[in-house]
Amino acid sequence: MGQTIKDIFSFEEYPRYERIGLLIFIVIILIFPLVVGHAYSRAVMIKFLLFALFGIGWNLIGGYGGQVDLGQAKNVGFGAYTTALMMVWWNTPFWITVPIGMIIAAFESFGVAYPMFRLKGHYFAIATLCVALVWKELFIFWDWTGGARGVEIPVKATADFVHMQFPSTIYYHYFVFFLFITQLLYMNWFKKSKLGYELQAVRDNEEAAASLGINVTWTKVKTYTITGGLGGVGGSFMAVYYLYIDPDLVMPLDLSILIAMTVLVGGAGSMWGPIIGAAILIPLDMYLGAWLALIGGKYGIDYMIYSFIIMIIAAREPKGIWGIVERMRRKG
């Protein structure tokens, strides 16, 4: 038991300056809303933390597992809809809807995982894409989930910790940060667990992993299931933050792609990848992109820049920006 606690909280295998960096990062995030009162900036920060959260979950299967999953948005959607619908129908407390959403997402992921993992590489990626699209179209088609109209979560008048609704963004900031830290610690433990090691072995060389007794497919299935569950958490957050969800908001293809690309650019398979990737994309999108759209009606330049970065990274350093950092560190 004590060992597990140590595994969760200990970052000792990271070099000292990374640990210091993480500490500084945490401190900055903690004091941010106390220092910055500007509503838009706070919203940007929340979105950054949300995408970093998404990235951590995806990093398990996409980074440590090496399987490019382009359908994570379906899991976000499962979480979001579970929370939204349960609140609308039964006024369920938020923290009860979260595990249920996670279980639903994990359950579905488990169900599709076995057939999908018979595929490799591109075939697998496209299969994940198709599955997510099928779900999105179903959610649009179904009336009981609100269809294309979406679901509106009833607004509470005052700060409500049971349903996690608050009048001021400051609460949401710490709320999403809490979720982020939780998943970060989980990831930290996961890396050092048996499944974590087996997964990395599978990523690096499937045949060798099999020769060492690892059931390759089962390892991937387990990880994909976990990633599914983790994705649901961010979705649940979205439901109570935006107070309105619909299939185009919580489970579009673009979200899946964004989550995957963010981690790949930042550095898949590393702790910093999701953080770096989100730190580049979200401000780019929310500041440059929004500004240009506003003043000139020009859309998409932020994504253009981002996709250009993606191409360069793919061609030069597939391990992402963190990969560049590590490469320079090894030389110096």
Binding site: G66, V68, P115, M116, R118, L119, G121, H122, Y123, A125, I126, A127, L129, C130, V131, L133, V134, E137, L138, I140, F141, L253, I257, A260, M261, L264, A268, G297, K298, Y299, G300, I301, Y303, M304, Y306, S307, F308, I309, I310, M311, I313, A314, A315, R316, P318
Partner: protein, 285 residues
């Protein structure tokens, strides 16, 4: 009976078109084992070529076809030379997100230039006219498009199997190293595959613009259909792409008739079932 004929005819027509769209994808994958995620965007650009030519010049959008072919050809070649060539050396993950980045880049480039609005080609010989054949009513543009796609598909097929250049391409796709030993310049083959892929799908875009709306995001829709087609037919097989295209066309039209909101869903499900039950597709490797 009339309904069945109508649906089947339409299904086959769309099938020829889908098959032609998928052709470039199958070719590129066959020759160098890489999936071009930007394939749909090449098509989207072809659609814009048709849109621009018909909107700004007093020309029929049909004239845009050769232009779209040339644009697509160069787009393919440039993509290969400046991006794909470099990512081929890297891990599979990089290959995946390299062309993915290209896809996003082109999509948002066009969104920047043209805005996200949906437009359509308004005038043209083929636009908005219908054809009556017995008891079947067909869009003229779809009939001509399907016919042209079929013709061009046959042309490419002939080229691959009967010309020296085509056989060099085929050899490269079977075993690049062996092809090199036989004196084939595989770099040139790779470039050519991208050029042909871009050209064919550019033409497809020009044709599609006659009856489908034009917007920067249309690429994603069609590339998924193309994937489903190629996966069903077998990545790398041109014959497979043809047969699969017909099947997908039928699924889409027939399924779409009964549940029109889910017409693409049926295609995605078909893809999923195809790769799960028969990962290699009918003819692929």
């Amino acid at each position: 009976m009339e309904l069945a004929t109508q649906l089947i005819t339409y299904g086959l027509l769309m099938g020829f078109i889908f098959a032609f769209i998928a052709l470039g994808l199958a070719l590129i994958f066959g020759v160098m084992n890489i999936v071009n995620f930007a394939h749909g965007e090449f098509m989207m650009i072809g659609m814009y070529v048709a849109l621009l030519i018909s909107s700004y010049l007093p020309l029929d959008p049909l004239v845009s076809l050769p232009v779209a072919a040339v644009v697509g050809f160069f787009l393919g070649i440039i993509s290969y030379r400046y991006l794909v060539q470099h990512i081929l050396r890297g891990p599979m993950v990089a290959q995946l997100f390299g062309t993915f980045g290209l896809m996003l880049f082109l999509r948002y480039l066009f969104m920047l230039i043209f805005g996200p609005d949906v437009r359509s080609v308004k005038h043209g010989i083929l636009v908005g006219k219908t054809l009556s054949l017995g008891w079947v009513m067909l869009d003229l543009s779809k009939v001509v498009s399907a016919g042209l796609c079929l013709l061009l598909f046959a042309f490419v097929y002939w080229m691959i199997n009967r010309t020296r250049l085509g056989r060099a391409l085929k050899a490269t796709s079977i075993d690049a190293e062996a092809a090199r030993y036989m004196g084939i310049d595989t770099e040139k083959m790779n470039t050519l595959a991208w050029g042909i892929g871009g050209a064919t799908v550019g033409i497809a875009g020009g044709l599609l613009a006659h009856f489908y709306y034009v917007t920067p995001t249309v690429g994603m829709l069609f590339i998924l259909i193309a994937f489903a087609t190629v996966a069903l037919g077998g990545f790398g097989s041109i014959t497979g792409a043809f047969i699969a295209g017909l099947i997908i066309g039928l699924i889409q039209v027939i399924g779409g008739h009964y549940l029109s909101e889910l017409k693409f869903t049926f295609v995605y499900i078909a893809y999923f079932l195809a790769v799960v039950l028969r990962p290699r597709g009918f003819f692929g490797w």
